[in-house]
């Protein structure tokens, strides 16, 4: 009873999201990577068009080239395949804070129209509706990396007019702009529906591309504010056969390793 294999040209919205994010990485860039979709995207980039991308995980594994995706930020695979491993204080002081990171990936439970991110609480801080995991490395990735790529699935619960708590700053509560000396911040937000970019003058996230088959209106409906749409709204190139093959091989290897 072999499982049905989709044709390479058929793909999920998560795959489209991962492939899109991977394309934003250039060869040789130094990336600070978190677990989940960012890790998938960064490793897909490394295994396809950006073989010399340098991946740093906050567990202290520098220049790592895992064969399978880590389930946790501290999987043994990351240490075994790293160029070297350092302690956590060093990774934050000598590597992130010192400005050696070109691209940081972030996700969050909420994002607002000015790219501010919340991974702390839904509701009031003192009496939260949902207590989220908290900041982790995010606040300093947001301000110490050269630029930030945000990956987040689209929903009105996630794309809110104003976040309940600013865990990581985008362009500020009022869209006033980036803190001084803090890098370019979120240059792109990649979702399962499309791609958003901050408007250069207003700092407001604007829909600049939708994934194939997604309309601008659908994205607007799933966004909690009156989303601006670029006049020249583009359509993302669908995943190539090669991109899909590399990504699926990676995920197959990963599942085999983690269930083993």
């Amino acid at each position: 009873m072999a499982e049905l294999q989709p044709a390479p040209s058929s793909y999920s919205s998560d795959e489209m999201m991962t492939v899109t994010a991977a394309r934003f990485l250039s060869d040789g860039q130094v990336c600070f990577v978190g677990i989940g979709l960012p890790s998938e995207a960064a490793n897909l980039a490394r295994l396809s068009h950006a073989p010399n991308v340098v991946l740093i995980y906050e567990s202290g594994t520098i220049g790592t080239r895992p064969d399978v995706l880590p389930l946790s930020i501290g999987d043994g695979e990351l240490a075994e395949k790293a160029e070297f491993v350092v302690g956590v204080p060093e990774v934050f002081a000598y590597w992130l804070q010192a400005g050696r990171i070109d691209v940081g990936f972030l996700s969050a439970a909420q994002i607002d129209r000015f790219g501010n991110l919340n991974s702390t609480v839904v509701g009031e801080y003192e009496a939260p509706k949902v207590r989220l995991p908290g900041a982790g490395g995010a606040p300093e990735i947001a301000t110490s990396a050269g630029e930030v790529i945000v990956m987040l699935r689209h929903s009105v619960r996630a794309f809110v007019p104003s976040v309940d708590f600013v865990t990581s700053v985008g362009f500020g509560r009022g869209g006033e702009g980036r803190p001084e000396g803090a890098g370019r911040g979120p240059t792109v937000v990649i979702t399962d529906l499309g791609v958003l970019r901050p408007d250069e003058s207003s700092n407001e996230l604007t829909l600049v591309a939708t994934h194939p088959g997604v309309s601008g209106e659908e994205v607007r409906v799933k966004t909690g504010w009156d989303l601006e749409v670029a006049p020249d709204l583009a359509v993302t190139d669908p995943p190539t056969d090669q991109e899909l093959e590399i990504l699926r091989d990676l995920k197959t290897r990963t599942e085999a390793a983690h269930s083993g």
Partner: protein
């Protein structure tokens, strides 16, 4: 070859009983790797209360300790079940005050790492470029400080010097010197910052011999107790000795969602077992341990 300053190898039970008083500030560190689970279970078994638990990444072991009511406060930077999702006992304590309210003090990872580093360095505070533009600054212990040379405003965080730090490592030699390697997180700093440090180890060896990168040594004279507890990091792992039990982490989501299921699990597997060997047998992971 032993002097008064050198630590004696002991048992985990004795170390927890004699060195972890109720009300203590206790840091149990381990960045996914080398998490001192067995020590956490022993703290639960001995019914410790009113602890201030400190940890960058409180995960399942702190979920268990919070769930049984060991902790009155949590100092942390990221509280989740890595790769799985929420810590349900932690959320229940914060969102509903069950089994009792849990005070929170939260930082970013960078802030916590700097706090431990200051503690290990004998300084009262650390400076870093952090919390810029966030709401965290309003909800955490920090101050701003101006560089006397450039005028730049930076964050200052107070040193973290736990009463007790507990970590798990791969090896100790017979004099109680401890060696660990792989992802060592903030353990060296947490150990050196504490007044009292307890280490559980996979193995006692004649000579420390790293089998991986980033070898870190803690000399015996910085430690209060070293206890051999093979497999003591389970379901976390010890590079060179074990692999991560991902199924346990995934399964914890189900156990921890429901208060009664959780209470029953603790009763059967932690309170109902004598030590780490019998705990591992009771959860069906007895092979190869002990």
């Amino acid at each position: 070859m032993e002097s008064s300053k050198q630590v004696k190898l002991t048992t985990l039970r004795d170390a927890i009983a004699t060195l972890v008083p109720d009300g203590a500030t206790v840091a149990m560190e381990g960045f996914t790797h080398l998490i001192p689970f067995a020590a956490g279970h022993e703290i639960i078994r001995q019914g410790k209360r009113d602890l201030i638990l400190v940890r960058m990444t409180p995960d399942v072991i702190y979920d268990q300790m919070i769930g049984v009511g060991c902790a009155r406060k949590l100092v942390f930077s990221w509280g989740g079940n890595p790769g799985v999702g929420s810590l349900h006992r932690f959320r229940d304590a914060v969102e509903h005050g069950h089994p009792h309210p849990l005070e929170l003090e939260e930082h970013s990872h960078a802030g916590m790492a700097a706090r431990y580093t200051a503690g290990a360095s004998g300084l009262p505070f650390a400076i870093l470029r952090a919390y810029i533009g966030t709401d965290l600054a309003k909800h955490t212990e920090m101050a701003t400080i101006r560089c006397p040379f450039t005028g730049e405003e930076l964050a200052a965080v107070p040193a973290l010097s736990p009463d007790v730090t507990i970590i798990h490592a791969q090896q100790a030699d017979r004099s109680g010197n401890v060696g660990m390697w792989g992802i060592t997180g903030v353990q060296k700093e947490a150990a050196l910052a504490a007044r009292t440090t307890i280490v559980t180890v996979e193995e006692v060896v004649d000579e420390l011999s790293p089998r991986g990168p980033n070898h870190v040594v803690l000399p015996s004279w910085t430690l209060a107790a070293v206890a051999p507890v093979p497999g003591g990091a389970h379901p976390s792992y010890a590079m060179g000795y074990s692999t991560r039990d991902n199924a346990f982490y995934t399964g914890w989501d189900e156990i921890s969602r429901d208060r009664d299921v959780f209470d029953g699990w603790v009763e059967e597997h932690i309170l109902g077992t004598e030590d780490h060997v019998s705990y591992m047998e009771s959860i069906g992971r007895g092979e190869g341990i002990g």
